[in-house]
C-alpha cells in the first residue's frame, strides 16, 4: 500500500508546487513598455519641439492646446489644419522649413492632412479620453503631460509619436485595479471601473 500512497503524494505535491508558482508568478504585460512600430506620417510632426521642455528647446505647449477634444470627448482628436496655420502664419522664422511648406500646401488646398493613427485600439473597444483627463488632470490635479503619459509615454521627447505601452486589456486592467485617489485633496481612493461595458462596445 505504501507505493500507492507514494504516487498520490507525488501527484499532490506536483499540483501544489505548480499552483504556488502560478499564484506567485509575476503577471505578464502590466506596466512594461511595449514599443509600437514606427508609423510613417505625411510629414514629420516634432512633438519635442512643441511640447518639450524649454531647456531642451521645446515650447512647452500644453497637450490639450492641440488635442483639444481630450477633455470633452472620447477621442483626443487631431487638430484641424486651421489650428496649425493659426500659429504658423505668424512664425516667419520657420516658414520656409520643408515641413511647414508642406503644411501650407495642405492649407492652401483646404485639405485635411491624412495623419495615420498611432494608437489604434480595436473597434470593439471604447477608450474614453474625457474620463481619464477629468479624473487625473481636473480632479487629481496631475500635470497634463504626466496624465497623458500614463498611456502615451513621454511624447515630449518624441518627434512623430510612437506607441510606448502595450495597450492590451491586461495592461488597462492592471491600472484599473489599483487604488487611485478620487481627487487632489481627499484621501479616499477608488478603482477604475471593472465592468465589461465600460470599455467594450
Amino acid at each position: 500500500m505504501y507505493s500507492f500512497l507514494r504516487l498520490s503524494v507525488l501527484l499532490v505535491g506536483l499540483v501544489v508546487s505548480a499552483g504556488s508558482y502560478a499564484v506567485k508568478a509575476a503577471q505578464p504585460l502590466t506596466t512594461a513598455d511595449d514599443l509600437g512600430p514606427n508609423v510613417e506620417q505625411p510629414f514629420e510632426f516634432p512633438h519635442d519641439r512643441h511640447a518639450g521642455d524649454a531647456a531642451d528647446g521645446g515650447m512647452e505647449i500644453n497637450c490639450m492646446y492641440c488635442h483639444t477634444y481630450a477633455r470633452r470627448s472620447i477621442v483626443a482628436g487631431i487638430p484641424p489644419v486651421q489650428k496649425c496655420v493659426g500659429c504658423h502664419q505668424n512664425i516667419e522664422s520657420v516658414r520656409e522649413a520643408p515641413r511647414i511648406k508642406k503644411l501650407f500646401e495642405y492649407w492652401d488646398a483646404k485639405k485635411a492632412i491624412p495623419w495615420k493613427k498611432v494608437h489604434d485600439l480595436p473597434d470593439f473597444v471604447r477608450f474614453n479620453h474625457e474620463r481619464h483627463i477629468q479624473r487625473f488632470v481636473f480632479a487629481q490635479g496631475k500635470p497634463v503631460q504626466e496624465a497623458c503619459g500614463y498611456c502615451h509615454g513621454d511624447v515630449k521627447k518624441m518627434t512623430v509619436a510612437r506607441r510606448q505601452k502595450p495597450l492590451s486589456m491586461g495592461w488597462c486592467r492592471s491600472c484599473h485595479m489599483k487604488d487611485h485617489r478620487i481627487d487632489a485633496t481627499s484621501t479616499k481612493t477608488s478603482q477604475g471601473p471593472n465592468d465589461c461595458w465600460q470599455c467594450h462596445k
Binding site: 499564484v23 508568478a25 503577471q27
Partner: protein, 284 residues
C-alpha cells in the same frame, strides 16, 4: 490576473442578483412598456436597426430563423373560437428583459455576458466564442446569433450603405451572440457627461432608441434608483418589486387591479422590463 487575485475575489467573481449585499447604488436601468398604448407600428424595431447596426438578413435567411430584431413586435390573437379577432390584436414589444438573475449569464463559458453594476445584462461581442448556451437558456429567446458574416461575405451593407453604421456600436462578425443592450452606448455617454458635471443622470436625459421613436410614448425608460424617475414611479405605483418573483398584489382580491406585470416572472429571472396590461372597454 493572477490566481491569487482570482482566489481573493472569488466571491465577487460571481454573485447572485437580486441580492441584498450588492444593491444598485447609483443606477438601475429599467423599462416599462404600456401595452395599451403600444399600437404595434414597428417604429421601435426599425429605430433599433438604425441605432444598433442590425443586419438585414434577407428573405431566405429570415425564413431560416436567422433574423436580427432585438426589438421584435409579437402579435397575439385571443379570438378563441370567435369568428373574428373582434377585440383587436395584442401587440407585445419583446426585447432583452435585462434580468437581474439572468439565466444567460450563469451559463456563458467565457463570461461574455455579465451583469453590470447598473443592472444591465451586458454582452461583450469580442469575448463571445459562440457556444450559444446563453440563447439556449434564455426563456424569452431574445438573443440573436450571427449565423453568417453579415458585414463582409454576406455584404449586408453594400457600399455606401455602410456609411450609415453607428460608430458607437460594434459591427458584429460571424459567430457571436448579440442582443438588446438598452442602448448602452447612449447610457455611457449620458453617464460620462453627468459625471463630468458631478451629478447623476437625470430622468429623461437619456432615452433608448425605441423609447425615443415610439409615437405613442408607450415605452418609459430610466433609472429605477432615482426617486424622481418616471419609470420608478410607475413600478412603485404598480407595486411591482424588482426583487420578487411573486408580487403581493397578484394574490390580492381587489376590485380594482393594477396592470403592471413581468413576463415569466415565475422563472425567477427578475426581469427589468415591466409591462402594463392592455385594456379593453367592456361597454362595447
Amino acid at each position: 490576473m493572477s490566481i491569487t487575485n482570482l482566489l481573493e475575489n472569488w466571491s465577487d467573481f460571481r454573485h447572485q442578483h437580486p441580492s441584498e449585499d450588492r444593491p444598485h447604488l447609483e443606477y438601475k436601468w429599467a423599462m416599462s412598456i404600456d401595452l395599451d398604448s403600444c399600437t404595434g407600428c414597428n417604429a421601435c424595431s426599425v429605430a433599433c436597426y438604425a441605432e444598433n447596426n442590425l443586419p438585414v438578413v434577407g428573405k431566405e435567411k429570415f425564413a431560416h430563423g436567422h433574423s436580427h430584431h432585438w426589438m421584435r413586435i409579437e402579435r397575439y390573437w385571443d379570438n378563441d373560437g370567435r369568428e373574428f379577432a373582434d377585440q383587436g390584436a395584442q401587440f407585445l414589444p419583446m426585447l432583452c428583459q435585462h434580468c437581474e438573475s439572468a439565466p444567460c449569464e450563469t451559463v456563458c463559458p467565457v463570461g461574455a455576458t455579465n451583469h453590470t453594476a447598473d443592472g444591465l445584462n451586458s454582452q461583450v461581442y469580442n469575448r463571445c466564442v459562440g457556444s450559444r448556451y446563453c440563447n439556449a437558456n434564455c426563456p424569452y429567446k431574445v438573443r440573436y446569433f450571427n449565423w453568417y458574416d453579415y458585414p463582409t461575405t454576406d455584404n449586408v451593407w453594400p457600399a455606401p450603405m455602410e456609411q450609415q453604421l453607428n460608430p458607437d456600436v460594434t459591427v458584429r462578425g460571424k459567430g457571436v451572440m448579440e442582443k438588446c443592450t438598452f442602448c448602452v452606448q447612449r447610457l455611457t455617454v449620458a453617464k460620462s457627461d453627468a459625471r463630468t458635471e458631478g451629478r447623476l443622470v437625470l430622468d429623461g436625459e437619456v432615452q433608448t432608441a425605441c423609447q425615443q421613436v415610439c409615437p405613442t410614448g408607450a415605452i418609459t425608460f430610466g433609472n429605477l434608483v432615482d426617486p424622481l424617475a418616471k419609470v420608478g414611479k410607475q413600478w412603485m405605483q404598480q407595486q411591482v418589486d424588482l426583487n420578487k418573483d411573486k408580487q403581493a398584489k397578484d394574490a390580492a382580491e381587489d376590485a380594482v387591479k393594477l396592470r403592471g406585470y413581468r413576463i415569466l416572472e415565475e422563472l425567477r429571472t427578475y426581469p427589468s422590463v415591466m409591462y402594463l396590461e392592455q385594456l379593453r372597454e367592456s361597454a362595447i
